[in-house]
Symmetry: C2
């Protein structure tokens, strides 16, 4: 009960601050004495800050403004992408205060080596956060792969990294700081849910090198019976199509994945060994630049990707009946060129019931979504249960 | 609170009967006096029957056995299929006591005419139930089409019947007996959930002339944001395939729907106008008979249907990550010939995480599922809230 009331008071401060203790009592429907005790505890745990007295305009003691702390408790998010590493520290207000992204080709390298580098980046981000007065209370790692509901700490498979059955604890240098893995598409969807307050039931598509999706059903992330929901990238769109890295044929990734689009756009050497890399630089930015310049093969490649994506999303709409579809990750940055063909495909194929083309929209978070979601996971946990924080 | 306790007592009697009042008190953790008052009310409402005294083998008064009534309150289920009408009355124990199925071609006929015939069948079934001492307390109609979450009473579209925007109240002869429409695949899944206690999260495929599916997520039917979830029949399996009745191309129904299978098996005249009908008789029984006799074109048609179904179910597994897949409706009766190719397709395509071929199984209810689910909907509502019943 106290736990619930602590969360209630902290939530009121987050939503309506600055508030005085009296304001909080009015909002949450508890006595002023009870609220004062809760506020004292939240201050002690570092979740709330109370400013000096301010004029309230009302009779009585001037209120002292309560706000959620911008120092103290924080969440560390990490990301291992196919071509980058990322780290983010968000404070309890949900603001990202440290943000690092390092280009790095991770596909096919030993998991231990990649994880050691992620751990080094995490340590740097944590040190930077500490210099800002922040204290990391939890660590979540976004991975482009399937993370089962259990056992904890396991990445079942990440085909685009070449990982199979990787237990983070087996490789992470410091047992004290092993992060919790989570599917990057799921984290992108959560960031969207927490930031943009989209529809109650939506499918969030997240593209980096691979393609994932997440289902938010009635305001909650649905991870699937075993944690594998949302594998949009391996929906068969052309059943006899090219072989996919997963071993099946004609998966969406073979048409709308980053490598496939780059190849179709003529931006990598066909037949080159190893993962497609357009030399140095950012493949998504390169595609956007070429498309904006009217480069015909790039436009054709994005149109083809959009059609394939529209096919896979038709399956998602027919099965799940979401209120909305959100294009996140790299797709958000390529939305100008993808949206027309995705929408056309949906309009042609979702005919058995009404479908509004505007229900498909790009995420405002773009490629920042999964890393932000990873950092915010800890923040949201603390906001829901402030007793997770040590007493100051 | 009393409502909840009435449901608790009725539920205990349903699960463990025969029970004495004392047994019920012990099971539900209420005083004997409270239980007696609840039992009296349930008897008054016709939900419970109390037998004459029986020897209990224990000290004290002999218990009088309480059981859920096999007379009195009942649910009426109706079904409009593409080639049949059905009616079922189930008593409060969930037993179907009246069961009628009439072959009738309903595709393309005016909705008002079909509904008037369904109403006549409903009246006959109700009269038969009344002769058994049953009293219909609710009416649910299974339709092979999409039924939105709101407004109530509307069938948005049923392509295989040729219905678009049909409001039942506009056509039903008697305003007192208008049934509630519900998607037949959803009702089939509910019947499966209530009878077979399958996995917590499963996809139930229901085939009659068309193909529908329903998602049960964590033990609850998920109808979608607007009631349109589970439209498996209109998942594109071969995007450039033949045109479907829905207007799109290459939908699953064009490969695994009844008409497509009959045509591929050579059991209807190709190019014949109107819906495919193998003359008189039951198309599913005919397919099963030919397949069992080793008729090569039928075996090939079912193999092709199974492969297409495997493709669509791959999308369902990749997106939703169910514990199980259930083949219901006509597919259950053709399972011997469909399962191998559906399983082979799933095994080849669901590779990015573990998948057990045995997670796919036929429903024990077969084509009876939707109609049974329609009748049981009322029964389950009464069991959850016995105050829906009039006081005797």
């Amino acid at each position: 009960m106290r736990r619930r009331n602590l969360a209630l008071v902290l939530g009121a401060a987050a939503e309506h601050s600055p508030l005085s203790r009296a304001d909080v009592a009015g909002r949450v429907g508890l006595t002023r004495a009870a609220v004062s005790s809760l506020v004292d505890e939240l201050i002690g745990r570092g979740a709330l800050t109370e400013a000096a007295a301010t004029a309230s305009g009302r009779v009585g003691r001037p209120g002292r403004a309560l706000t959620v702390s911008d120092h103290g408790p924080a969440g560390l998010g990490l990301e291992i992408g196919v071509t980058h590493l990322g780290a983010c520290v968000a404070d309890l207000r949900g603001e990202p205060r440290v943000w690092r992204r390092v280009d790095q080709a991770n596909a096919g390298r030993p998991a231990g080596q990649v994880l050691a580098e992620a751990a080094a980046l995490a340590a740097e981000a944590q040190a930077e956060a500490e210099a800002l007065g922040l204290r990391v209370e939890g660590r979540v790692l976004a991975v482009p792969g399937v993370v089962p509901n259990g056992p904890a700490g396991l990445v079942e498979r990440a085909p685009n990294l070449g990982w199979c059955g990787v237990r983070l604890a087996d490789h992470w240098p410091d047992p004290e700081t092993v992060p919790e893995p989570e599917n990057e598409a799921d984290l992108g969807a959560l960031a969207e849910l927490w930031n943009a307050e989209p529809a109650e039931t939506f499918v969030h598509v997240s593209a980096e090198a691979g393609i994932g999706a997440a289902l938010v059903i009635e305001g909650r992330l649905f991870r699937g019976a075993r944690g594998f929901a949302g594998e949009l990238g391996h929906i068969p769109v052309h059943p006899d199509g090219p072989e996919c890295v997963c071993g099946a044929r004609g998966c969406l990734e073979q048409y709308a994945g980053q490598e496939a689009v780059l190849r179709a756009a003529g931006l990598v050497q066909p037949g080159a060994g190893g993962p497609a890399q357009p030399g140095a630089g950012d493949a998504v930015a390169l595609l956007a630049e070429r498309a904006a310049a009217g480069h015909a093969p790039t436009l054709a490649a994005l149109d083809r990707a959009g059609r394939a994506l529209g096919l896979a999303l038709t399956s998602a709409v027919q099965l799940v009946d979401p209120d909305g579809l959100v294009l996140g990750g790299a797709y958000a940055e390529l939305a100008d060129w993808l949206l027309p063909s995705v929408r056309a495909e949906l309009a042609a194929r979702v005919t058995v019931r009404p479908w509004d083309p505007e229900a498909l929209r790009p995420s405002g978070l773009g490629r920042r979504g999964p890393l932000l979601g990873a950092a915010l996971t800890t923040v949201r946990r603390i906001m829901a249960d402030p007793t997770l924080l040590p007493v100051g």
